[in-house]
Symmetry: C2
């Protein structure tokens, strides 16, 4: 949580600002998350984030760099539970990995608190190539590759991505497009049908 | 193709305009598709569509009604091949339906000509609830329900939607987020893994 190695460059803060670093940094990140959630990637500006956090734009650049880097930091916070989860999901018997992954991903979408920032990220990624690249870098590199690392079969990365595709599609149709009966179906009914598919992608010969 | 029952209401066209109806209607639809593709649902206006088609806004309202109805008509044109396809896909032996559906849906996304309007529709549906409702009405009611109609097992609609979710997710990760190796993988490798999953959703006991 300490700000041991702040980014050097334009808008280097004064001594007073540096002392308040962790709190200020968190406040900027929170403002960034709200701005990106409300406006999407394209319409959000570093100036708007700074204003909302009550700091100078230079300070946002100082801590995070470009708008793309602020976005990446904001996503990283929103995804923190997901990005820390692969060990828990992949640890333990491989024949339960499909259900653990399904429950975990769909669970994030069931909870309105975690759904809102996720939805904002998905919207940004669908609309903007830079935001898509950030999403890809974080989710693909940090989440999918780590799951793939545990698969001792041909095409582990493709397998992990097709398993993810099933879950992404369910989240899209259930929570974004809201197709019925999927949108209102009991989560357990969905898990019962989807978990074996995710498992199959990952571990079927 | 004749305009037998034009919508009554404001902006009823003159006799000269009515005689040119099919061509004018098509021109408006084409302009609508381009405007929605370029700007998305929210930023597109009936006025902008009219301007691009070289007609008065009243004529757009006359033929199609509200912006939502213009959007629906534009989507219907873009989806015409897909909406006409369920018979071809569901006809024939049920044990090949997974592969036929997979090839059909992923095939639309492989072709840049059909991918562009589809991407515009998906972007609009992800960003705007009205656009999502149109998408849901068309795709769910016309495509998914017709597939579900052929399934003689419990939960036919949920099955069709989970099969669709797998395909939606593959399209998203391959063509929108562009996760590798999925984005560059040969289509046949993807079909080989995905078709059995789609088949399973639809016909496994």
């Amino acid at each position: 949580m300490t700000d041991a190695a702040p980014r050097r460059g334009r808008g280097r803060p004064t001594r007073t600002q540096t002392q308040a670093a962790p709190a200020t940094r968190d406040r900027i990140l929170e403002a960034a998350r709200e701005e990106f959630s409300e406006r999407g990637y394209e319409k959000t500006s570093v100036r708007g984030i700074a204003k909302s956090a009550g700091v100078d734009s230079a300070l946002v650049h100082h801590y995070f760099g470009t708008k793309e880097q602020v976005f990446e930091a904001a996503i990283e916070v929103a995804f923190a539970p997901a990005l820390g989860a692969p060990e828990k999901i992949v640890e333990g018997p491989l024949d339960g990995v499909g259900e653990r992954l399904t429950r975990f991903v769909l669970g994030i979408w069931e909870n309105p608190t975690s759904r809102t920032p996720l939805l904002a990220i998905v919207r940004s990624a669908v609309n903007n190539d830079t935001a898509a690249a950030v999403f890809r870098r974080l989710v693909a590199a940090q989440l999918l590759r780590r799951i793939a690392g545990r698969i001792d079969l041909p095409d582990p990365e493709l397998r992990a991505e097709l398993a993810a595709a099933q879950l992404v599609g369910v989240a899209m149709l259930r929570h974004v497009i809201k197709v019925e009966p999927l949108a209102s179906a009991d989560l357990e009914r969905i898990v019962a049908r989807v978990a074996p598919v995710v498992q199959g992608h990952l571990t079927n010969p």
